[in-house]
């Protein structure tokens, strides 16, 4: 089912959704990514019919979904904490959507039993029909919730933080498995998450939301490699920020002048991921990456499995770099040693844009703009 969302607005005490426009393609697996309070869950609940927008339209295959009766919406929803019926067995939970159908459309009880068995097979819980939810692990409950949602044969599956309550290992397993189910059933799936890794790993496309608006939408590589706003850049990973100057469409960063045709003249900020900070022993040989003037001093080293996180001090600012163990050995770095810094793939935003984001974001937000904090030091 194709979903078109136009100018969707909802205001509670504050603006929750601010003129959302979004098209979800048939059979697409779309991730809604954003911090808490960004409106992503509200958007999902409106799609499900659990919430009503103040204005705007939602169309399912061209039909106005907001006035569509529930049984013709063909939407199913997996709740954040599953909302399983605790007093029913796994079987009865999964069968619920079929048993409550009006008599004319209700399958016979042996047909229901067969369908439930099939679904439990699909979610790999074949032997668990007689258990109660309290007797299952978190991952198993999640799979029961999914089987229950699929039982009503929806065209659209909506998932609210589907893996939020699970531990890291189960989460990754379930992620792959959910993707498989999506591919096999031909559903249109929308899921909400605040975990950027999950969104990028799972979605065909990802919509990054912030304060009720969609900041950017695209495939995971598009989003990760070409973040269009400072917020998206910062939300998708750790960020180093460097002040630079734009003049006539060119930004001066270290020893390089980079083309930035879209940016106005004036102060700008170059953002670089920790793994795009290249450490070298000397300024030679020259490369395409911008070389910062002067030495940096290693302040702290921590080995994280195959990679090493290096904290450096350069011109009174802290810089975080992630390098491989081999590089660490080659450079022979330890706390206190000196090296040069090159910046690979900087993304440059005008300072006005970043300041605007800073002004809007509250200091208590979990995903505040880290570079601003760092620059103040």
């Amino acid at each position: 089912m194709r979903i078109e969302i136009e100018n969707l607005t909802k205001t509670l005490t504050t603006v929750v959704l601010d003129r959302i426009n979004l098209e979800i393609r048939e059979h697409e697996f779309l991730g809604l990514l954003g911090p808490s309070g960004s409106g992503k869950t509200t958007l999902l609940r409106i799609l499900a019919g659990l919430d009503v927008p103040d204005s705007g339209t939602v169309r399912f295959d061209g039909q106005d979904a907001l006035s569509l009766p529930r049984e013709r919406r063909q939407v199913s929803f997996v709740f954040q904490h599953y909302a399983l019926f605790n007093h029913m067995t796994v079987f009865d939970n999964v069968a619920f959507g079929l048993k409550v159908r009006p008599r004319g459309r209700r399958p016979a009880s042996d047909e229901i039993a067969r369908r439930v068995e099939e679904l439990l097979e699909l979610v790999q819980l074949a032997g668990f029909a007689k258990r109660f939810p309290a007797q299952l692990s978190g991952g198993q409950r999640q799979r029961v919730a999914l089987a229950r949602a699929l039982a009503i044969e929806p065209k659209v599956l909506l998932l609210d933080e589907p893996f939020g309550a699970l531990d890291a290992k189960v989460r990754v397993e379930l992620r792959r498995w959910l993707r498989e189910i999506h591919d096999r059933t031909g559903l249109t799936t929308v899921f909400v998450t605040h975990d950027q890794e999950e969104a990028l790993d799972l979605g065909d496309r990802v919509a990054v939301m912030n304060r009720g608006r969609i900041e950017q939408i695209g495939t995971p590589p598009e989003i990760y490699e070409g973040p269009r706003t400072p917020f998206v850049f910062d939300f998708l990973g750790r960020t180093n920020a460097f002040a630079c100057e734009v003049k006539n469409g060119r930004a001066k960063l270290g020893d390089k002048n980079l083309d930035v045709p879209d940016l106005p003249d004036g102060q700008a900020i170059a953002c670089v991921r920790p793994h795009d900070i290249v450490l070298t022993a000397t300024a030679e040989p020259p490369s395409d990456d911008a070389l910062l003037p002067g030495d940096a001093v290693v302040r702290f080293l921590s080995v994280l499995g195959p990679t090493v996180s290096v904290e450096l001090l350069h011109e009174r600012e802290l810089i975080e770099a992630v390098i491989s163990r081999e590089q660490l050995k080659q450079l022979d770095l330890e706390v206190g040693s000196r090296c040069r810094i090159r910046l690979r793939l900087p993304t440059i935003f005008s300072k006005a844009e970043v300041d605007q984001e800073k002004g809007r974001s509250e200091p208590t937000k979990r995903h505040r703009l880290r570079w601003l904090r760092r620059r103040r030091k």
């Binding site: 529930r70 904490h81 909302a83 019926f85 007093h87 109660f132 007797q135 949602a149």
Partner: protein
């Protein structure tokens, strides 16, 4: 110096390792438990025993004569009828109120919750008076009721209304915190899956609240059977017609028919004890049943 330190140290350590603080609390515990037991004995068990001994003082024959007296039978019947009408009505009201308060958002919600508590905070006598003022001869609706030959005050309807008023909060009070804690996710899930309002209530909400509901109904029932103050005001004490059991007990007592009075009182006590026993059984089966059974 070293020796001294070595000798002091274990002594310092001893209070933590030895059961000294426990010994203190054991003494304290004995006092507390003793006090509690004494209170229990004085204020619960002794009166209860007194009721039954007084009732049987003049023999079993007198006892049975007292409770099979036509007026006694009428009082028993009236009490049972009152409870049979008031309890289901308040059960419905309690469920509806709790459902509205916990599953929906609307203005004046806190006011409604406070209002539901009103019968608890107002003296039952005032509860009765209010209805006399409303439906009595000199009351607001009195002349109209009179003209249409409808008797509420000093009749059975008044007794039922007064009982309804007094027992109104029991079920709602029991359900509201329970349903608040359960939230609305399961109802939303049922709605998404296609259940209509009644199916959602019967298959999802009701099973989740059934223990709380039964508990509230039992408390409500206990009070409905035992209510004295409000009912006394609206009853008029017409023997064989508008005397409930508690009122009849008082009438007998005032007539110096002590044995008969206590006999009826003992019946009333037995009803209360049965309610209590049922409640305990329910609690036990809710808590000690299957590990997967819903605990509410």
């Amino acid at each position: 110096m070293v020796d001294l330190a070595a000798r002091i140290e274990p002594r310092h350590a001893r209070p933590q390792a030895s059961p000294l603080p426990l010994r203190e609390s054991r003494w304290l515990r004995a006092v507390l438990i003793g006090t509690a037991l004494l209170f229990l004995l004085l204020f619960l068990i002794l009166p209860l025993a007194a009721v039954f001994t007084e009732a049987l003082r003049e023999g079993v024959r007198v006892y049975f004569a007292a409770i099979t007296d036509p007026e006694a039978v009428a009082a028993i019947r009236l009490t049972l009828v009152t409870a049979a009408v008031a309890v289901p009505l308040n059960m419905l009201f309690g469920i509806a109120a709790a459902w509205a308060v916990t599953k929906f958002e609307f203005g004046g919600k806190n006011f409604l919750i406070t209002l539901i508590d009103l019968p608890f905070s107002v003296s039952p006598v005032i509860g009765g008076m209010v209805f006399v003022l409303l439906f009595g001869l000199q009351g607001v609706f009195g002349p109209w009721l009179m003209a249409h030959d409808i008797k509420i005050i000093f009749a059975v309807p008044g007794i039922i209304i007064a009982t309804l008023f007094v027992t109104l909060p029991f079920v709602a009070r029991e359900l509201i915190p329970l349903m608040q804690q359960q939230g609305t996710a399961q109802e939303e899930a049922a709605w998404i899956l296609g259940a209509n309002g009644w199916q959602t209530f019967r298959r999802v909400t009701l099973p989740n609240i059934k223990w709380g509901l039964l508990y509230g109904v039992l408390l409500c029932n206990g009070r409905a059977i035992g209510e004295f103050g409000a009912v006394s005001v609206v009853s008029g004490h017409i023997g064989g017609l508008t005397n409930t059991m508690p009122l009849y007990v008082e009438v007998l007592y005032n007539d110096y028919a002590f044995a008969a009075s206590f006999a009826v009182a003992s019946l009333l006590t037995l009803m209360a004890l049965a309610t209590l026993a049922l409640k305990t059984v329910l609690e036990w089966s809710a808590g000690g049943g299957r590990p997967d059974a819903p605990i509410h």
